[in-house]
């Protein structure tokens, strides 16, 4: 199958999780929120060394926020549901 048979575009979306990069201590080895998330949508950004939301697939269940030792995570209700 040739590549051109499935052309795709990248679409932006507003995601519900914000990480306060001044507070996040992922650069010291923390991955608590990444491990807690049941949907596996958080990851450490190799460029910034901080956690971020990588996939817009959130259940707004809050373990990431509750378990973060630095108080760096805030979860909002996703825009479509607000």
């Amino acid at each position: 199958m040739s590549k051109s048979s499935f052309p795709t575009a990248i679409q932006r979306s507003n995601v519900p999780v914000t990480i306060d990069e001044n507070k996040c201590i992922a650069d010291k080895g923390c991955t608590v929120c990444v491990e807690a998330c049941p949907l596996d949508v958080l990851a450490i950004n190799p460029l910034t060394g901080k956690a971020q939301m990588t996939f817009d697939e959130c259940w707004y269940c809050l373990p990431c926020e509750k378990d973060c030792p630095a108080g760096a995570v805030s979860v909002e209700i996703p825009y479509l549901l607000r």
């Binding site: 199958m1 040739s2 590549k3 051109s4 048979s5 499935f6 795709t8 491990e35 807690a36 998330c37 049941p38 949907l39 596996d40 990588t54 996939f55 697939e57 959130c58 259940w59 707004y60 269940c61 809050l62 373990p63 509750k66 378990d67 979860v75 909002e76 209700i77 996703p78 479509l80 549901l81 607000r82």
Partner: protein, 581 residues
């Protein structure tokens, strides 16, 4: 991408609620067994009870209820279609499980005398035990896993069960790592399936794929795996539909608010159902009211005293769905000032709330030798969290005994190759369809064609659509292991959609209120349909349904009780404009 082989005695798939209990109980039967708990997410925060739970919905506590009474209640609530032995086995072990959880440190509400403070929410008996401090439950389970030396692997997604070619006995499972895409062959002498509900079947009205009632990690993988392993499933046509806060996917929670004086009301603030316990009949009345001139439906709390409302807020905004408070704040809604709009959820398959699941007996055994099932995906109607724990326990004990008595079956290399190829294909294709788009389309079709009230011709068209989406599965493309997980979930969701359509078409009557309301077969027909509808992969490899007669009841139900759930509507609110059926 590597292939990793691993051998254990007992493999437990799904580390949410039933799974950890199964693993612990298997170890307690025989501490020498190698027991592996395999989880798609991370057992510390996975599953329906990820953040905790507001209470036990079905506690059978001496002095408040008897096992016999509970079996009658569930028999009636599920319109007679139950294998009573399985419900009775739950009910008889319910209290012992509460005491065990209590010893482990789970906090239940007690009165001044130290007795459990059980509340009445059901139509007939008293079974709801609040857990206002229920947020620690995953921590407590994790401690038990460690104490009992259960082996744990996180972020592995099971995709198929391995079944012996000759005797159809279980031999383990295939899985992959959702971060590396490594392929796993896990050999086991017995397997417990505890992967929860099929929660990503219907599409929430917002169109948001992950805004489901159920934890969306539970995409129905277990239903699909059991089906492909040759197991019988039952009651698939008895969908799960829940009353929710409109736009917020948390339960409206009359169970929590009911004992405080809150209730479900119409737009005039009137009660229209006698009892807020979730059943198909209750959902039918809810749906009638929602679609009538008295709609929509609301959760009414604004008549309650300030201190009562703040107690309710502490529970509802703190435990199982704590983002609820943020949702209300965002819309400027305060329980004190006005009623909160409610709506009905998307459809799902879940025996925890309704009755769809893998067929099990009173020892949690499925029809596949060596395969056990527990929790939301095992067919023991209205089993909820405590049922998941009790059947998790049964499944673990049965699986341990089976592993004690049986050897390991060799894995057929051809079966291994075929599955590894199926799993890796979306990563290996150069281009193709994005999993999220295929999932959106599939689930929109589920809404369009399967959402009750059910119409025969619509469901037939639905089947055609699901069949053509089968071709799309062959061109799914994943950019990374995470997307691969979503791609493989779409396979499972498609299987569940087909099962939901076929089982619904097979039962040519209406039953369970809204859950199986068939517009063109509006009447309940006990003469032909007081039976289980089973679904399996037949000898020709096709999806087929058949009738399984009810086992004679072990607890008789009298005629007065039998119709109790058909008399839920408060007569003064009969709505002439209510819609069919």
């Amino acid at each position: 991408m590597n292939t990793i082989e691993h051998a254990v005695d007992v493999l437990v798939i799904g580390g949410g609620t039933a799974g950890p209990m199964a693993a612990v109980k298997a170890k307690q039967v025989n501490p020498n067994l190698k027991v592996l708990l395999l989880e798609k997410a991370n057992v510390k925060r996975s599953g329906a009870i990820s953040m905790g739970m507001d209470g036990l919905n079905n506690a059978v506590i001496p002095g408040h209820a008897t096992p016999e009474q509970y079996v009658r209640e569930i028999t009636v609530a599920n319109d007679g279609i139950v294998n009573q032995k399985t419900v009775l086995a739950y009910a008889r072990n319910s209290f012992a499980m509460i005491e065990e959880l209590d010893r482990w440190g789970v906090k239940f509400e007690k009165d001044e005398t130290g007795d459990y403070a059980v509340k009445k929410v059901h139509h007939m008996g008293t079974y709801v035990l609040p857990m206002p401090e229920g947020h620690d439950i995953k921590k407590i389970l994790y401690r038990q896993l460690k104490r009992n030396r259960v082996e744990i692997t996180n972020r592995l997604v099971a995709t198929r069960l391995i079944v012996g070619q000759e005797d159809g006995r279980i031999a383990g499972a295939f899985a992959f790592d959702c971060r590396t895409a490594d392929f796993y062959v896990i050999k086991a002498k017995s397997v417990v399936l505890a992967t929860g509900a099929a929660g990503r079947l219907g599409l929430p009205a917002s169109g948001y794929l992950f805004g489901t009632y159920e934890n969306p990690t539970n995409a129905g993988d277990g239903y699909s795996m059991a089906y492909h392993a040759g197991a019988e499933l039952s009651g698939i046509e008895c969908f799960q539909i829940n009353p929710l806060i409109k736009d917020y996917n948390g339960p409206a929670c009359a169970y929590v608010t009911g004992p405080f004086g809150g209730y479900t009301a119409n737009s005039k603030g009137q009660r229209f159902i006698e009892c807020d316990y979730w059943s198909g009949q209750m959902m039918q009345e809810f749906y009638h009211e929602l679609e009538s001139g008295n709609g929509p439906v609301f959760l009414k709390l604004d008549h309650l005293a300030e201190e009562t409302i703040s107690s309710i807020e502490t529970i509802l905004h703190g435990n199982e769905r704590p983002s609820r408070g943020r949702f209300h704040a965002g819309r400027g809604i305060n329980y004190r000032e006005r009623m909160v709009e409610m709506h009905i959820s998307e459809i799902g398959l879940c025996s925890g709330h309704s009755a769809s699941g893998v067929w099990v007996d009173e020892h949690a055994a499925t029809t596949v030798p060596g395969l056990y099932a527990a929790g939301d995906l095992a067919c023991v109607p209205h089993n909820y969290m405590l049922g998941a724990f009790v059947y998790g326990g049964f499944a673990g004990e049965s699986a341990a005994r089976h592993a004690n008595e049986h050897g390991q079956i060799e894995v057929d290399p051809a079966q291994l190759d075929a599955e590894r190829q199926r799993v890796w294909a979306p990563l290996q294709r150069e281009s193709g369809l994005p999993p999220a788009q295929v999932e959106y389309k599939l689930r929109r079709m589920v809404n369009d064609y399967l959402q009750p009230p059910k119409v025969t011709r619509k469901m037939e068209i639905g089947l055609e659509r699901f069949d053509s989406i089968r071709d799309d599965l062959e061109v799914l493309h994943a950019n990374n292991p995470h997307e691969l997980m979503r791609a493989m979930e779409v396979h499972a969701i498609r299987d569940c959609a087909e099962m939901a359509a076929r089982a619904s078409l097979y039962r040519t009557e209406s039953r369970w209120g809204l859950y199986h309301a068939r517009v063109d077969y509006p009447e309940r027909n006990d003469a032909d349909w007081l039976v289980h509808v089973q679904l399996h992969k037949n000898a020709g490899g096709d999806m087929a349904c058949f009738k399984r007669p009810l086992e004679p009841y072990v607890i008789p139900v009298d005629d007065q009780e039998k119709t109790a759930y058909q008399r839920l509507r408060i007569s003064s609110t009969n709505t002439p404009e209510a819609v069919a059926p």
